[in-house]
């Protein structure tokens, strides 16, 4: 054992991150020694040690930890869903592993990511962040056990067996998970409100109320892997933004590019959105009433599938209009690339719905659409999020994979019926005459004459 580790004052430094030790270690130990000498001690007090442990570990919860926790959570969530979609490969142990990952590991990592990024941004202190994480992870573990207890209780009830063991403990597990989760959320909310001038009698009851109300909702939401991945994705973006440490500054040239909208573009947007709105409304009408009058629709289900295909076809001119409307300050490829992939995604879903409701025929096209959708999300995100290129690519790819696996086959069909509404919105936004080219201010030559 080295001399540094044997020294009781130096030993406390081990709890701190290396960067902090390098910047403050000697001064920190010097102050500890000054105080100990004054109090005739040869070692730190228990209070000093505990304080160093809590602050040191808390300081390790930074944006980097947040980012990697979030990325691992997204990756594990996506892998678990893929495993579930493949029937767990037929392995009997796989169900337990996937269950532990989706209900335990992914939510815990999402919580660590969120709290770590809040700590790094100075919203909560290091000790409060650490205590909150410990309490929230405990609460989530209890909530996961409660979920297992509920499932086991159902199985036993189906077999007409008495509720014993874990199945019998559902009520206790739920209540303890709620109490611990409420305390953790209240601690967090109180920490966030601490910077205000609200008196304690306003702050603490509010924090407690938020904790009591939010704990069950947050618990149920987080042990759902989809929601946990969404939270992790949000934390990853916040962490990356913190790591980059800079805000996007819009240069005058960028502003001009953003605002410039030629009359040709506006005319094209008007025609494209008009076409989308008309074809989209026909698609809605067909989906709802086609079975009554169309020879091609044998029944309501077939009409619905064909109506969705028409709606998705109507989305293609709408997406083209969107490409002409959105800002191009990240470059033309950063707009046309992802929107092109979305058009391919929509086309694949439209082709899939031609075969509706025969899922076996639809599935390959839906899988293709999910891949295009994931690619679009990644391509859209990478140029827009902030930070070093490697991290941006990692976060963009994680978001893309997360979207493809969790939402890739459901989002587009759900949004199909909104095409006429979006067409009207894009028409209103994209053809506003107030959008004018911002030219550099030049002196008015007539001003001198009028003077």
């Amino acid at each position: 054992m080295s001399r540094a580790v044997q020294d009781p004052f130096q030993r406390l430094l081990r709890w701190y991150p290396r960067r902090w030790r390098q910047a403050n270690g000697e001064v920190f130990v010097g102050t500890l020694r000054d105080q100990a000498e004054h109090e005739h001690r040869a070692a730190p007090t228990a209070g000093d040690s505990l304080s160093a442990v809590v602050n040191g570990i808390g300081l390790r919860l930074d944006a980097r930890v947040a980012l990697w926790s979030a990325l691992v959570a997204i990756g594990l969530g996506a892998c678990s869903w893929l495993a579930l979609l493949n029937g767990l490969g037929g392995a009997p142990w796989a169900a337990n592993v996937v269950g532990i990952v989706t209900v335990g590991v992914v939510p815990a990592l999402a919580v660590v990511a969120m709290i770590a990024v809040m700590r790094d941004r100075g919203w909560v202190t290091a000790p409060r962040a650490l205590i909150t994480i410990l309490a929230l992870v405990t609460s989530l573990a209890l909530a996961a056990l409660a979920k297992l207890s509920w499932a086991q209780g159902f199985r036993l009830a189906d077999q007409n067996l008495p509720q014993t063991g874990l199945a019998d403990a559902w009520g206790q597990l739920f209540v303890v998970a709620w109490v611990v989760g409420a305390a953790a959320i209240a601690l967090l909310v109180d920490g966030l409100l601490h910077r205000t001038r609200w008196p304690w009698f306003a702050r603490m009851p509010l924090a407690a109320l938020v904790g009591i109300l939010a704990a069950p909702a947050a618990g149920v939401a987080l042990i759902n892997p989809t929601m946990a991945v969404v939270v992790a994705g949000f934390a990853a973006l916040m962490a990356l933004s913190t790591l980059s440490g800079r805000r996007v500054r819009r240069s005058p040239a960028a502003t001009r590019t953003r605002e410039a909208r030629s009359s040709d573009d506006r005319t094209a947007v008007r025609w494209l959105t008009g076409l989308s709105a008309i074809v989209g409304m026909f698609g809605v009408a067909y989906a709802l009433t086609g079975a009554a009058w169309s020879a091609g629709a044998a029944d309501g289900t077939v009409a619905m599938g064909q109506g969705i295909t028409i709606l998705l076809a109507a989305a293609i001119p709408l997406l083209t209009a969107v490409a002409l409307t959105v800002s191009r300050r990240h470059g033309r490829a950063a707009v046309s690339g992802p929107i092109g992939l979305v058009i391919l995604e929509v086309t694949a879903v439209a082709v899939a719905y031609v075969s509706a409701p025969a899922w076996d025929d639809m599935a390959p096209w839906m899988a293709v659409s999910a891949i295009f959708g994931g690619g679009a999300v990644a391509w859209w995100a990478i140029p827009r999020i902030r930070g070093p290129l490697g991290l941006r690519v990692a976060v963009g790819v994680a978001l893309g994979v997360g979207y493809a696996v969790l939402f890739g086959t459901t989002t587009i069909p759900l949004l199909a019926f909104t095409v006429p509404v979006f067409a009207v919105v894009v028409a209103l936004v994209g053809t506003r005459s107030s959008r004018k080219l911002i030219a550099p201010t030049a002196p008015d030559p007539t001003a001198a004459l009028s003077a």
Binding site: L12, V27, Q35, L59, T125, R195
Partner: protein, 133 residues
Amino acid sequence: MNKHMGILQGLEYGVRMPAALNQPSFWILTALASRRRHGYEILRETAEASQGSVSLKVATLYAALERLEADGLIAADGEEIVAGRARRYFVITDDGASRLSAEVEQMERSARAARTQLALHKFAFTPVEGIAW
């Protein structure tokens, strides 16, 4: 603050005001208000000025110093090695002095309001010996 201000307006006022200084930050700024000090001096001065009501741990002190430095309220002012021990000095910035003044003003306003209410309710205001504020 208007004495007829409602609870919601009061809460809104609370949010819009600069963030309240917590106890460690308040006493650290107070310790640095008179001159530059190193870590252990700040600990001693804080304990003396607060008459023992605030006793910071070294880890808490450095966490608070780091936060105050990040907020621009204090600044590092050189390091020295004394008897083989590293000492870093800290000094209050102009922003820190303004922030402390604003905090003190706020406390005085609160104290005045409390005294006024006590007087209205016929209680005599009797400061307790040994309590700083």
